[in-house]
Symmetry: C2
Subunit: 732 residues, 2 copies
């Protein structure tokens, strides 16, 4: 083994900061979405008097839920519906129309839209199904309708959706065919599935969950989740945004918009997303490790992480979280106080908190004394505080107040079990009285059924989130803490390094001109060297005579590898030799390896033998890049070696990477302890690894020609790192 | 590198099967527990007339819930309570007493128990608190009471508990101070936490969950979870057993009893356990890897796995699972059919099933044709089957029947969202009509709140488990599948190998006589060799002259390691050299290594240099053993190298190991794919690894002197395996 050139010399950190021009989304005129959410007048095309008809349900919901504007039912067969005069067509309405709702057969939609365009309608909701969800013909029709709407400047929601609810008392619009109206609240919900909406409206009604806006956006022919996010981001009624999506139209836009909404310190709003179809599509076939590890779901994980969006797995979590995010402050740190009247549930809550990565608050001496004075001797004044089974509201009250006051408490979980003497409603009232007094989140778990029901109702009415069991509360506390960390994160930018783009272009051009899209190690290393990566010293020995000089330049012992664009699996033909200690040995290896290669691959173009510095031992990681068909270039980081594949301990981000994102990638793999150093070993050079990730990001952004790239392994040292092998695959 | 002796030659499989005598628990006389659960007469000592008193609540609950025997309230201040004549003492009761319930101050308990003993009472429940939970004095009192009960042959439940409910109509006993009576059912619940019981009774009431027995066992001074399990195992009213425990008294007994209950094909009963305190105690300080990885929680995981008990994390899971286990058959395989009237929830259910390791059933051609005929053209006849939003009960019905009939379906999840036309109760009725007709589990998720409430009630009343969201159903289906796999597992026994016990005893004796409890590599390898492990060839070179012969015996290249009981970290002093290729080099290493060791550790007893065969490269795993202070010897398996520590990818079992348990250990680590072979690599020799685990189990069972043991690494090959390093620590 030999000392290679110190990687800190190899990496030349050129910290020329400059913001990459962000991909800006087509910003929809806010006037248009305003006409959709706050119309002064609505034409309901297909309004019906027939019981059970969707056209009846929509009209009825609008009429009976206090819409503050004017309704124009359009129906040429009836003179009036539910007592309201109808019009034979949109054109026949003698006042301006802000919003048209279409509940007509799909085939009739274009004609109605034309009518709307003529009338100068600003926005439309197409409730009707029969579009792209039905096949090629429907898709055709949908494209035509979208085209029509865009030409006419009509903002279009749907088709194939449930509609839209705006509970703002200034509007009070239920433009859906749902069975019930949403209660007013500060949570906005948008869903790609209309059927899910009906379930959620029904569920939310029983849970005291109120909505600001409730939107089913269906096939999103025109208005998509990004448009809606932008609107909800500046909607004063909305404090939390929930989304159910099955795909995202434009990932980069989504990141850009969602980051802004979730990050702005002044009026930031948490976004919680349930993205289904996690398991529907597997990883695609790919020529690189990175490609084969980048399933669709990993892309969405990356997108959500970079956007500051909390991804949840179930509807239950979505609303469990929403109740807290809508009503409670986020915990400043991770120290949780638990107050309970029963030991067992206290232990359960402790387990759950620790499992969620939270800590149990350690109370100050003053708090302990206060508790000792307030509680019977058998009570536990340590966290979790057990106020004992016979506790009534006074004992709960003084305990809750003491632990909330303690500066070592960042959040509180209050647990109750219904014992004989427990005055449940009084205790609930006490909790609500403390709520929001300390700028610390309070979550409750009153465990039971009928006995606790009235208390639970009280809590919920006063904005104290309640969970049937303590584990739910712990999970929510963790989510709140995660979001607070996102808010408090240091804001970083992309770094742009000085690199040799021309050299990379030259290498790519040559490969292209030779009809190759796979760059073998030699070329891949040249590309990385041009981008300032710490590559091992190496050179190509074209003939036996080159070996001596290269050996001296590189330094013994050597690694020697066959260099040919046509031989992909070098080891299969004995094309790799490590630890070649001197010149005679190296010359022998040269002859032997060339002969083998020619014998096994007589047709191959053999460039020679790659003579390489032998890497010191270190910790092996893998860096990679791949290009998602929808979201563009992604960067991967993971543990190297066989563990990459076997344990899938890798993480992805969309490029370009900000500094912090690159750092987070290093920190979030399961095997990070290996990088941090175990058994007293020094930590790996996180700065060097981070910089490699950032340089990789820059490379794939600046060269869209790169389809897939593996740096495998990158060897991490205490100081610096070294690329030991790499390959690049160019796009067609 | 050289070929070592084929490990299959080294391992001599001596398959002399013989059952180790199982540790048999003191089997409590069933007469005694019968008198506790089915007493003909009860003395309530401390029965009270005072509103709010526990003694009043217990007596009231007994009197008003239809107890079929005779009640004798004992109270010397009142002539009658609630109209029932009282007695001044147990002795004063003029009839035989089966069960005494004590609700008296802790200090009075011994006197009352003496009274009971005199009367010939068979069993007692001590509701009173004030025992070991309060400190040393209470602990003292509890020990005295236990002693008293055992001497008098009284089976004692408690102290510090809520009491006991038996809903069997032949008994109908509510001997608790809970606010409500349990509904009758086939689920038995036992809890170490009394307060949790009150919450669960209240919760269960609102969820239509019925109980056969409901037991709070408190401090378990006498009767513990094992006694109760044995009773419930043969209780005809009980089909499923739920436990909440904070610790287990006797792990081996527990495994033995629980295995019998969960396994017997005829009348097997699933056991679901919530063990809290997962995170309370960390891993203890230990001298070996294995010891440091064996936290308390890993022990419980091992105990539960070997007992066939499903461990759950939350109360929610406990009851979610119980509802299904109590009412539904277990799925024969893992193929789930999903029927839904909404696309989104169908995708969510699919995601959840796949995440749970279940498969989506692929329907037969016949089923597809039936569905095509029954459903509108826009419906999806592939799994998940989407019957569309306008589906009513007839469409659901024919669909459900078709997929249940299909032999490719092992279980069904039926999802409903409340759409305008959905006749929810009719659909629920249809589901209940199909329930149990096909010997396949049906789980439902009618998503919503008020709208679906009546339908949900109908389902539950007819034994169809219902979950608010599809993810809950998927999780339960997985748990059922896990249990079914447990039932269907091949039954194996412990294998006993022919080994050289005398040799091991000799090595241990020598170490002891030298005042050592740490066996360095050389001795540890001798011990393993005596137990038939495939150890590398090696020998001790005491002087330079030994090297030549050993080199020839072992074969070049060699590994040479310093051998000294006083040098634990060999590498620190350059005490390990690999790849020594010939005799001159070996002799030089000998001199050099001895000199270094003497220089750095002048006081050390240096035995010489261990000359060892150099192992071929293979996949490194770690095997280990440790001794839990409560449960005895445990065996560990995991991936070797730094990953053991960094990823904690290890698994434990209590010894002795059956063959199947050993196999499962290999299969359940996350990194098993590395053993199975990735990228076309051949699988490791699972049989050899399994045998090593079994031999290790035998070793630690037969030598209780072993406190900790690491085999690290064991190198796994395509054929066989080889121990490359090991250490043993003996108990004090």
């Amino acid at each position: 083994m030999t000392e290679e050139q110190s990687p800190s010399q190899i990496i030349t950190p050129v910290f020329k900061l400059k913001t990459l021009e962000a991909t800006r989304a087509r910003a929809r005129a806010s006037r248009q979405l305003k006409s959709l959410f706050e119309p002064a007048s609505i034409a309901i095309v297909g309004a019906s008097a027939r019981q059970g008809a969707v056209g009846q349900a929509v009209f009825r919901n609008l009429l009976l839920n206090g819409f503050t504007g004017t309704l124009y039912p359009v129906n040429h067969r009836h003179h009036s519906i539910m007592g309201v005069k109808t019009y034979p067509s949109v054109a026949a309405i003698d006042d301006p129309v802000d919003l048209a709702i279409l509940i007509v057969p799909a085939a009739s939609v274009p004609a109605v839209l034309e009518d709307c365009a003529g009338k100068g309608v600003n926005s439309a909701i197409i409730i009707s199904a029969g579009f792209k969800e039905t096949g090629p013909e429907g898709r055709e029709l949908e494209l035509r309708v979208r085209q029509q709407a865009r030409e006419a400047g009509i903002a279009l929601l749907g088709p194939n959706c449930l509609g839209l609810i705006n509970t703002d008392p200034k509007v009070s619009m239920n433009a859906t065919f749902a069975r019930s109206m949403a209660q007013p609240g500060n949570i906005a919900f948008m869903s790609q599935s209309g059927a899910l909406c009906t379930s959620i409206l029904d569920y939310a009604g029983t849970q005291n969950i109120g909505f600001s806006k409730f939107i089913s956006f269906g096939n999103k022919a025109d208005i998509d989740e990004n448009d809606l996010l932008r609107y909800l981001g500046s909607d004063p009624q909305t404090q939390v945004i929930l989304m159910y999506v099955e795909d995202l139209g434009n990932g980069l836009d989504f990141i850009h918009i969602a980051r802004e909404i979730t990050s702005e310190q002044e009026r930031c709003k948490p976004i919680l997303a349930l993205k289904s179809g996690r398991t529907a599509e597997g990883a695609r076939a790919a020529a690189s490790h990175t490609g084969s590890l980048a399933g669709t779901d990993e892309v969405y994980d990356a997108v959500m992480a970079q956007a500051g969006v909390l991804r949840v797995d179930t509807v239950q979590e979505l609303f469990d979280y929403a109740m807290a995010f809508a009503n409670q402050p986020m915990p400043r740190h991770d120290r949780v106080a638990i107050v309970t009247n029963a030991g067992g549930p206290g232990i359960m809550a402790t387990d759950a908190c620790v499992r969620q990565g939270l800590k149990l608050a350690e109370f100050s001496e003053a708090t302990r004394q206060t508790l000792q004075a307030a509680l019977p001797p058998a009570a536990s004044v340590k966290n979790p505080v057990d106020v004992l089974g016979d506790a009534q509201h006074d004992r709960y009250q003084s305990t809750l107040e003491a632990v909330l006051k303690d500066e070592n408490t960042d959040g509180l979980i209050v647990i109750l079990t219904p014992q004989n003497m427990t005055d449940i409603e009084e205790i609930a009232r006490g909790v609500t009285a403390l709520n929001l007094r300390y700028d610390k989140p309070i979550l409750a778990s009153f465990m039971g059924g009928t006995d606790v029901a009235a208390g639970v109702r009280l809590l919920r009415q006063h904005g104290v989130p309640h969970y049937p069991f303590p584990e739910g509360a712990a999970r929510v506390m963790r989510a709140m803490r995660t979001y607070r960390r996102w808010l408090d994160r240091p804001r970083t930018e992309e770094r742009i390094f000085e690199v040799n783009r021309a050299e990379v272009q030259r290498i790519f051009n040559r490969a292209r001109s030779e009809g190759r899209n796979r760059l073998p190690e030699l070329e891949a290393m040249q590309v990385l060297a041009a981008y300032g990566f710490p590559v091992l010293r190496s050179g190509l020995a074209r003939c036996r005579e080159d070996v001596a000089e290269l050996g001296q330049q590189v330094g013994y012992p050597l690694v020697m590898k066959i260099a040919s664009p046509d031989i992909l699996h070098k080891t299969d033909i004995g094309g790799v030799r490590v630890g070649v200690t001197d010149l005679p040995a190296a010359e022998e290896v040269f002859d032997d390896m060339m002969a083998r290669a020619r014998a096994k691959h007589p047709e191959a173009n053999i460039w020679g033998i790659n003579v390489q510095q032998m890497a010191r031992r270190g910790r092996e990681v893998i860096l990679g890049a791949t290009r998602d068909p929808k979201f563009g270039p992604m960067v991967m980081f993971g543990l190297g070696g066989i563990y990459t594949e076997a344990l899938k301990d890798v993480t992805f981000r969309l490029a370009p990477l900000r500094q912090l994102s690159a750092r987070h990638m290093l920190e979030e793999i399961r095997g990070r302890r290996i990088l941090e150093g175990i058994r007293g070993e020094a930590p790996a050079d996180f700065d060097a690894l981070q910089e490699c990730l950032e340089r990789l990001s820059q490379l794939v952004i600046e060269f869209p020609a790169i389809d897939e790239l593996d740096i495998n392994p990158l060897i991490a040292y205490e100081n610096g790192a070294a690329v030991a092998d790499a390959r690049i695959i160019l796009g067609a």
